[in-house]
Amino acid sequence: MSTATAPARRASEASAPLDPPRPLARTGALLRFMLRRDRIHFFGWTLTLTVMLVYFSGVLRAVFPTPEDLQAIVGFTASPVGALLGGPGFGYDDLTLDRFLVSQYGLYLITAAGFMSIVTVMRHTRHEEQAGRAELVRASAVGRFAPLTAALLVAVLMNLFVAVLYGVVLTAQGADASGSFLFGASVAAAGIAFAGLAATTAQLTAFSRGGTGIAGAALGVAFLVRGLGDMSSAQGGDLGWLSWLSPIGWSQQTAPFVLDRWWPLALSLAFAAAFTVVGYVLTARRDLGSGLVAARRGSPAAAAWLASPFALAFRLQHAGLVGWSLALFVSAIAYGSFAQPLVEGFVDAPPELIAIMGAEDDLLTGYLGLMGVMMAFFATIYAIGSVQSLRSEELDGRGEGVLAAAVGRVGWMTSWLVVSALAVAWLQLLSGVGQAIGASASIGDWSLFGDVVLGHVAHVPAVWVVLAVAGLLYGWLPRWLLAVWALFGYSFIVAMFGPILDLPDLAYDVSPFEHVGEYPGAELSGVAMLVLTGIAVVVAAAGVVGFRRRDLVSD
């Protein structure tokens, strides 16, 4: 009896099905863990976004106490350039402060939410995989889809938190509650859309930087596409449909405080859902740690020129620089090609408006001059990013290997900064050429070509100053390197919104971008370029001195 039952029992044990595969097993536990890890990340991002809203709103209330004050600048905001830098101007025939706030500044909050989501999703998916920690997690009883799902939930929670805060803040400031919460939801919907996109891009390459780069590029394209669409609409063109191809555009089309329509957000959610599904499908098909693109082999030996810290710095920045060159060149051509429609749409523009644009005699040069600064800010993002990469070289221990060879501190850091500085000049030159090609081709007049290129290149010394400040922080206070973004943000706000905010002179003087002049719309100051270059050299040198004195830091 007993001998007969024992094998039978064993057989039934062996054939007994295991628990059903649960691809989402432990998602909840992972979610709690991620939120615990993200205490600072979570509130840092969401509260910063809220502070930005409070700040914009506060400044506007101070500068434009009455609707009549607002009416004075509606000419600018309703213009094509205003549309490019702000968005579709809903309700400008009867402007209120809330309408102005969401239509002119909402764009930046929406874009920032998109970026927040990309960073958050990447941080918990591909970054963990790359670091090898995901292997430990997945080796426990955690489902295949659980990490991605939990990461998406974190991003969704962050966006919902922002939505609620926005609704509460705006309502508390006296705005209409339905519009306030709609605006909050619009920002969140764009954030969720890009979280979904990041779920896909995280699967594409084996490296979080690659996934972030692809999703970030998509965010940039979304920004540009809806800008062109809005610009076209503002001047009665027929490219307005472009705005409907962009997740950022959908969030702007809700028109809070004017039309108060929720349905465009359905597009955002569908977009998020579609890319999330793609992300799951790709996750199910690939190996842990791998990307869709197989790692390529490379040369078994280094090229002969790769024999100095300078060459190494170039080799390491090279790949990123190629991508940046391509993106900026294409964007510049696109921005430039709007020169002709701009001129046509503005034949009847009031002279006060042209003055705001900074142009002395015509709108075209004013626009091209403004675009020169705009592109300089993109180049600045590259410059700051390059110093952050330098810090990664140090933290990850690769810098240690180089400095343990016969390379001095000064040579190592200086090589890197010089390569970054040259890259900035190259990017500005390329943007200038792109802008000149776009503008000249659309107008059919190539006489402005040289001026437009010069107007772009003229801002290089200003970018160098920001690069040097990043170097200074890296040398003396490496943990505070990110503080250089404050200088970037401040200068950007002054450059783009200074004319509207009616800032005092001192506020302009602090920004490195306000001294050279937005050529060809305004005079060019060679002295300012020389002084800025001098400041950059001195500040960077001070940074190198600091780096010489301190210990190398490693993780």
């Binding site: 490379g298 078994p300 221990g397």
Partner: protein, 363 residues
């Protein structure tokens, strides 16, 4: 001499490093001389008066538990960290001030190698070698083969062991006087470990100096001419393995028909016990001659003497109060013993104990 070896091409560096004894006083200087080195990180004390000497042409094994200060010491020697006090001389120079000139004459392998994700292993080897001032093309290829490394793969695709090989090859393919190796074979399989030991023998045969920080006792036992044990940022013991063994106890088991209990009263004998007619005890190194003389009078029919392994030596210094064997409770009874004690209060006496031993080495 420093300048010629630094600025000329690599083969010259070798001949300088090999250093025929007639080249002058610089060659008789130690390659590394550290006295009273201190380093703090915030409130943590990493090094607390470390002394260390590495002579030219020797392999010094640096042993210590995690956090003892091994890596900090090497990173100060590389000028990556700044010391807070004490004297450091490296190849006759100051590691912080003369970093670049000194680095032409040394190579470094960290215990955790990070490579550039988008450079191949071969490119990384070449770059690191060239930045040091030159690399032997032929030897590089030979080493790639010896360590079975595929140099055409991108850095991001290498396993930990393969990253380690990249750094090892970059270091070994350069002609340098001094190798600073910080747990260099972490992640290598036993076959590669054997290759590594072969390479280090080649290096020492060429007269170069090696500072080898390691956790692998077998590796140190095989390779090191002398061993330094550090603990809590201080040097607790230095000497050849033979000398260190001399300072500790040998375990003896003997069979005798006579009554051996008189041995228990001899100075330097510990843990004396008799199990089943087998007499067991431990003998201090310096008491050995006296004990052996007394054994002659006993009817010894069998005798085993086991020298302490490096592992026992280490346990003795790492583990607080560990006596190197299991018989602690009994062993602590004869507390006033001459052997160095790891307790902080006894640090001075342990330094005393090690100093004469190292001087006594005829080299």
């Amino acid at each position: 001499m420093t300048t010629t070896s630094g600025s000329t091409t690599t083969p010259d560096t070798t001949s300088t490093a090999r250093g025929p004894a007639d080249t002058g006083p610089a060659d008789t200087d130690p390659a590394i001389e550290i006295t009273g080195l201190r380093k703090r990180f915030g409130r943590t004390t990493a090094l607390d008066g470390l002394d260390l000497t590495v002579r030219r042409g020797e392999v010094l094994g640096l042993l210590g538990p995690n956090g003892a200060g091994k890596s900090t010491t090497i990173r100060i020697l590389l000028g990556l960290l700044r010391s807070d006090g004490g004297e450091v001389r490296l190849l006759g120079g100051d590691p912080w001030r003369d970093a670049v000139a000194l680095h032409r004459r040394l190579a470094y392998v960290p215990g955790d190698v990070e490579l550039w994700p988008n450079l191949t292993g071969g490119e990384a080897i070449d770059v690191l070698g060239r930045l040091r001032g030159g690399i032997h093309r032929g030897r590089r290829d030979e080493l790639c083969e010896r360590f079975d490394l595929d140099p055409g793969k991108k850095g991001r695709t290498y396993s930990k062991g393969n990253r380690q090989k990249v750094a090892l090859i970059a270091a070994l393919a350069s002609d340098v006087e001094l190798l600073l190796l910080d747990e260099p074979t972490a992640g290598l399989d036993p076959l590669m470990e054997a290759e590594f030991q072969g390479c280090i023998r080649d290096v020492t045969a060429a007269g170069r100096t090696v500072l080898l920080s390691s956790h692998i006792l077998a590796q140190v036992e095989v390779l090191a001419d002398r061993i330094s044990i550090i603990r809590e940022g201080r040097n607790v013991e230095t000497g050849s393995l033979a000398e260190l063994r001399h300072l500790t106890r040998t375990s003896v088991a003997l069979e005798t028909t006579a009554d051996a209990s008189a041995l228990a009263a001899l100075p330097g004998i510990h843990h004396f016990r008799v199990d089943d007619g087998l007499v067991r005890f431990d003998v201090d190194g310096e008491a050995m001659p006296g004990v052996v003389a007394r054994l002659g009078g006993l009817q010894v029919t069998g005798l085993t003497a086991t020298p302490p392994t490096l592992e026992q030596l280490l346990l003795r210094h790492y583990g607080d109060g560990a006596g190197g064997d299991g018989a602690n409770g009994k062993g602590r009874a004869d507390a006033p013993e001459p052997a160095p004690d790891p307790a902080p209060g006894a640090a001075a006496s342990s330094a005393d104990a090690s100093a004469p031993a190292s001087e006594a080495t005829p080299r």
